[in-house]
Symmetry: C2
């Protein structure tokens, strides 16, 4: 089943208005949820919306909270997100970072006590639409063992890098686990093995078995010791700079709320666009492994899906769509 962006967004917005979101905040949050589905990230669009609503109802997400500036260190600004909606706080912070970047070349905003930003790529696209290069990252609940360990102690701590480009922005949206648990669940439900190792077994050996990884909560860091180290360092950067909750503190709270995030924007009046094309052309000139295969840059597939969904409507999971519509009765 396919529906239009406007219909999807309107449903989200009406639900949020009933949850006492202001008109402006409901519009922004509904637009981001609808955009995530439009861009093919259904797991953080429609399919995540009911969980978001539950967190609002349980009080972990506070609709009326606004981020508050708590510290200014040179041009670096630190906010307290006051447990407001993560997508709202993240949009506000990235907007502030791009504003600062237009004054200083660079903007650097850190926020603590915020909530899940859903699709990290959202803020990379936002900054790129605003003409800025950006780097942003978040911490998260513990879901991966550190390299050499068995028990989950690291968040998948997504890292997002965006670069504006007339022909289509480059946006890398990369969690530190090789696969998300959502992706692994798809394989598990189909009774399939993962194409590449996705976790470690009880003995610490790599495994392709999604059910085992799910059971042990032993998702594999992308690049083994490398992703393990990077996930740790991102958590350290976020926590040391913001004074907010680390993955350790988020895990101790027993539920993923009150996370820490960082938004860096760079405004360069002299971005060398022709050199970006040179890099893409060179990279794409590598002979594809598969016949008729193609090398894609980060963001290329997102843009293709967006165009298709804009033309043909956004595919929705009917069960999820009915769930949202029922919230309006």
């Amino acid at each position: 089943m396919k529906i239009s962006f406007d219909e999807l967004k309107a449903a989200f917005k009406n639900v949020l208005l009933r949850l006492s979101f202001t008109e402006e905040k409901a519009d922004l949050c509904a637009g981001i949820f609808a955009s995530n589905s439009r861009d093919g990230v259904y797991s953080h669009g429609l399919n995540r919306f009911p969980v978001f609503v539950k967190h609002v109802q349980s009080g972990h997400i506070k609709p009326d909270a606004e981020p508050v500036l708590v510290e200014r260190n040179g041009i670096i600004e630190t906010y307290d997100g006051q447990l407001g909606p993560g997508i709202y706080n993240a949009s506000v912070c990235m907007k502030r970072a791009t504003t600062l970047a237009k004054e200083n070349g660079i903007g650097f905003v850190v926020i603590k006590n915020t909530n899940h930003w859903m699709r990290g790529g959202t803020y990379g696209w936002q900054a790129a639409d605003d003409g800025c290069v950006s780097i942003s990252f978040t911490n998260a609940y513990a879901c991966m063992p550190p390299w050499g360990g068995k028990d989950a102690r690291l968040g998948n701590n997504p890292l997002v890098i965006g670069v504006p480009r007339r022909e289509g922005h480059l946006v890398l949206d990369m969690a530190m686990s090789q696969y998300s648990y959502g992706k692994m669940q798809t394989y598990e439900l189909e009774g399939k093995q993962l194409p590449y190792a996705g976790g470690v077994d009880e003995a610490g050996e790599l495994t392709h078995d999604p059910a085992l990884v799910h059971k042990l909560q032993s998702a594999l860091p992308a690049g083994l010791w490398k992703g393990s180290g990077l996930a740790l360092m991102l958590d350290v950067l976020l926590t040391a700079l913001s004074g907010g909750k680390s993955t350790a503190a988020i895990a101790a709270a027993g539920s993923e709320y009150g996370v820490s995030q960082c938004f860096i924007a760079i405004n360069s009046p002299n971005l060398h666009a022709s050199l970006i094309e040179e890099i893409l052309a060179y990279t794409k000139s590598s002979t594809p492994v598969k016949e008729n295969g193609a090398i894609q840059y980060p963001g290329e597939n997102t843009l293709a899906i967006r165009k298709q969904n804009e033309a043909e409507g956004i595919p929705v999971n009917e069960e999820m769509w009915n769930k949202v519509k029922n919230m309006l009765h």
Copy 2:
């Protein structure tokens, strides 16, 4: 064979003085080469010094060049490295970044037309010794196929993140390939397979065979599609911001010189040190996979080797050490 830091540094310095390095520049470069060996990174210490000398003799590295400021965009500064020694230029840029950070909270320095910085970790330690958090990265010669391709088109583009800490800095020094070619050569020479996949074969399947990866120049990006995307984005950031050579241009030149680098320093008077300890304690509490195993943080092993080498002397490859000593006759 083991020798002292002072002896190693003095030999390097004397060679560099003969190559018409100034007293100051010879001292700094010799100190960094000796420190790299002292910290256990022999591949970018003594064992790399003869290659460095060759590049000076061939004119790819210009001893008398100084980085020149070519653009200021707010607090972002762009330099032209004029093909000076990479380790000198990188030290100067990181020093400038930490100085800017002490004025503005953050310092951001980009450099083009510079040379190999040897061990990236050097500049993470430098900034941390100066009390600053840092993020730095460089591009490099094409040595990895992008994900889905066969031909090398991406550099291993190391990323370095450093965080100061009284008990020992945290420094992640992470190239984007799962293994370096140097590491794979060690396995190849011993006739051993790699413990984890290190490249792709002719059909694009993962392989543990170091000789095959060497032959095909098909090093595996760490995290498969993830490291591939990150390596690409770092090259794009560097090139788009600096206007310098991309990996494509470096490869076209046929030899790795004139690379681009970025140095970000953050000076936070209110770094939450106790929260860093909380993260490390939590991460280390994961049950080790191996009996008597331990989870290490990035930089922990470096510090342990440094202390041992300071106490017992620095192990040197005798052939390499003789090569350097012969340069003084």
